[in-house]
Homo-oligomer: 287 residues x 2
């Protein structure tokens, strides 16, 4: 989906908050540069691509290619420590596959990009209340069918921390479909707190999946910007699981067998999908 | 006070919401223009001046010099209808002057500029709950002393609707200090829902005060932009009452006998004044 004008304040908010968070010097110079870019913004682009551009500006401005490195590590460690506990709860559930998906989606709330104001206490509330967190859109049975017949799954990751819940879902998928070839994709470069290659290896995603990065610094998966290698895998995959808003925003109009798993964090995405804000969804957009 | 970078998302939010509210065509062109202006923004300016500039861009873009005309009229009518009721409550209060000030400050919540998300129900809740709405900063006794010794008061208005509560306070001031010469100032041109000349006459402010406009299209009172006539009155006034955030933002550093009456609507202003958000304040910044 193209950027909506209602995204512009959030975009600017993100730049300001990240500038503070990363202790940028000469912030005004950075803002001038970002506004200059926005003054000729192509409204045909998607928001994740635009955020990628502004985040590149920030990285150059602060001479730091990975300002969220420590934050990513912190949340990966936090959720790695709880992985056994969550795995146990998934195993005990009536429908363990659905529960693994619910955890993976709720993991999507771990979004410390400053666009969405969730703090760690909010996140934990969602986890504690998981029994009451139902999926507003639920195409899990269809996903199961598709996975049964698939040779290759491409799983598009999203945030740090969340990746530890993706791990549990992928572990479950591998148990259920041992012959399935699974690729786990990260962003090509650091962008806000999204997972990059080092996060995927850090949480040992390579036990079940072949880890690749998409070769691009955008926030989601911008097909005209990703590496040829990633694009090959994308095209050959029988099933794609796309986590998070940015992957939805960048792939919502693709004709491809994609399941979108996300928590809906703003009214723009809610309107586009046709659900309420804060919904948890696992859905397949018909081709 | 100079604009803070935390104001930038709000500024962009306002442009987007007003563009929608006024049914602007070619919104993207307008946004490009606004971002082009922001790309060389002078961070020494105050926010009300910057908002004035972006609102001018909007007015030119939509070929409408007063997009909030009907909204202003609607809220003036709404509060004119309740003026007798509010006057009665003020008369019955133990300290009628303080109560008139509290109503005038709570009137400051009638801010339908889309930067602050108050709807009419929120506004009415404040009015109903006025007994519990105490002033966090209260220089009312000092204001009374100053008015007793003053020859001229300049009252700087703020929003539509609110102006009906300003009227009640000014009525009270005139009763208490019948010899006081009172000027009531509006913005020089339509800017969001702020009161302009026609609003002041519409609510009959000329019964008690000489109505003037400040000659400028900014949101607050930008002294280097106002008309010479306004500036003369400003300089000769013994006491100034400045309503609302925009007047605070534009005059907070002036060396002048000013009483700021406002509801604190955001963390930037709260930090600058040194109170919590949503505080009601009537205070004199020492020269």
């Amino acid at each position: 989906m193209k950027i909506r004008d209602y995204c512009l304040p959030c975009l600017v908010n993100q730049v300001v908050k990240v500038a503070h968070m990363s202790h940028a010097q000469n912030k005004e110079e950075l803002y001038h540069q970002v506004f200059d870019y926005l003054s000729s913004l192509d409204f045909e682009l998607t928001n994740p691509e635009i955020i990628g551009q502004t985040f590149q500006m920030l990285k150059k401005h602060i001479h730091n290619n990975d300002p969220y490195k420590e934050i990513r590590r912190y949340y990966n460690d936090l959720f790695l420590q709880q992985q056994d506990y969550f795995r146990d709860l998934i195993e005990k559930a009536d429908d363990f596959f659905e529960m693994a998906i619910r955890y993976a989606i709720i993991g999507n709330i771990i979004d410390f990009s400053p666009m969405h104001n969730h703090d760690i206490n909010d996140v934990m509330k969602y986890f504690k209340n998981i029994e009451n967190q139902r999926l507003t859109l639920n195409d899990i049975e269809k996903l199961k069918d598709d996975l049964k017949n698939a040779k290759t799954l491409l799983y598009l990751g999203d945030n740090c921390g969340e990746i530890c819940l993706d791990y549990l879902l992928i572990e479950k998928i591998k148990q259920m479909y041992p012959d399935l070839m699974i690729y786990f994709a990260t962003r090509g470069e650091a962008v806000v707190n999204d997972s990059i290659l080092e996060d995927a290896y850090y949480v040992h995603m390579d036990r079940y999946a072949t880890i690749i990065d998409n070769g691009d610094y955008s926030l989601g998966t911008i097909l005209h910007r990703v590496s040829p290698k990633f694009l090959d895998i994308y095209h050959q995959a029988d099933v794609i699981i796309a986590k998070g808003q940015a992957n939805y925003e960048s792939l919502s109009e693709e004709v491809k067998n994609i399941y979108f798993l996300l928590m809906v964090k703003c009214h723009v995405i809610a309107d586009d999908i046709g659900v309420d804000e804060k919904s948890l969804v696992c859905f397949h957009r018909e081709e």
